[in-house]
Amino acid sequence: MRRVYLDHLAATPVLPEVLAAMQPCFLEAFGNPSSLHQHGLRARDALARARAQIAALINAESPEEIFFTSGGTEAANLAIKGVAYANQRRGHHLVVSAIEHPSVLGSVEFLEKQAFTATRVGVDSQGWVDPEAVRAALTDQTILIAVHHVNHDLGAIEPVAAVGRIAAQRGIPLFVDATASGGWLPIDVQAMGASLLSLSPHRFYGPKGVGVLYRHRRARLVSILHGGVQEGGRRAGTENVPAIVGAGVAAEIARRELPERIAHTAKLQARLWEGVQHRISYVKLNGPPPGAQRISTTLNLSTEFIEGEGQLLLCDLHGIAVASGSSCVSKSLKISHVLAAIGLDHALAQGNLILSLGKDNTSEEIDYFVTTFAQVVEKLRGMSPMWADFQRGVIDSVIQPSGRGTSFAAHASALAGKPAAARPS
């Protein structure tokens, strides 16, 4: 069967060069970097090289500002909790965007149970944070601002540099979660004014099991995993040497190939969105349109009158790997908090599909997706009572209202006996 992978935001395979670099760390060069003998010193050296490679990718002043964690989630937890605990004498207030990843929002919620408070700054319908809203949320108790570089669901590139300037004016550290952008957009921590920034190498052809936290040398940060004095005392536990080595190589290659990767995915992104618009009716792009304010790798679609999990399963059946922010694919049965935050109509949130491109996708794959997706939509609409009701003029389209019929949301909430939750409770 033809296989088309369009879920690079979830995972990427590692590059052959990355695997080749990791390989010796499993068998011969397997030492623990804490050991003082040959094996340990060799591993230590490998860590130092990887640190420099990562520093170069994001223009950190020094490799010593790079900390390795187990992944993007731990990096976000370390940034949020590590800064909060380190600065608790200064204040107890955090300001975060409302559409941060759960690893950020979850860390904030945890701190809220411990005498910290937080303000969640909302976003507009495209998913953009207003830097002035961030400024307005600051108090003299604020010890951390967190605004991600690119939203993982919407692809919106946030105005982090503007937020960085405000943070600098107020002397408050800014944490930028760059998990969704690292390796796909140029990142310059100094130009951004980020005191902390996280990366997830397995989203740019590095291995799983490693995350990166950049920390400007003046930002105070304490450990959240306690134990040994690895990573300058800021992250205990034997280092995942092979994964760190792989992350370094992935970063080096990403830096080299960045312009090429951007150009290639931008071309496919345009082709994909044009193809979808051409072939499928009542479909909406969520987040900014392809262009300078959207990352080139993702598209977030809402197709009316059908639900997202079904789209995903039928795509998979045709060998196409995609994701969805529909409530049906979440274990909590809630639509993505991001889709809720941009005020997306419940019907559209339910029909959500998230596509993320990679460097190896081809135009033919995009065309195959478009053709297949048109069939998928047709099949699901054939099963959908909403599509039938829309044809009969009982309910109306949100995307292209005809003026006939009630809204899907009103219809659904009448049936369910309560309003369709546009926002997660």
Binding site: P13, E309, S327, L333, H346, G358, P385, A388, K418
Partner: protein
Amino acid sequence: MRFDTGLMSDSYTLYNQTVMDHFLNPRNLGEVPDADGVGEVGAAACGDIMKISLKVKDGRIEDARFKTFGCGSAIASSSMATELIKGRTVAEAMSFSNQEVIQALGGLPPVKIHCSVLAEEAIKAALEDYRKRHPEAAGQPER
């Protein structure tokens, strides 16, 4: 990007084979023409919507069709529910339970149990509608 290695030879499914079969090849899809009862229900939890229409003859469900807006297990649940209900008397059908759907489907993931509940509710709503439209039927002897 090709993944056709030996590793990918086995095919993984989110649901079991029966559920997948009912999702991919739904039974009784559509709307019964001149239905005797129609039930449409929505799940407050996730937003799924199911519509089931029935043809009843001599107090027995002759035909049952569904349309569903929802995930794979919602579609499979309504497909299976209509299969199960066909041929039953209205009285029998009134005691239809989502457990039958789950069992006939060979199980559902815990988070998806509510899909089978929705199917039960859709059937009951359709039967309710049938009784409302056919008050005489309530007293009818069930063969």
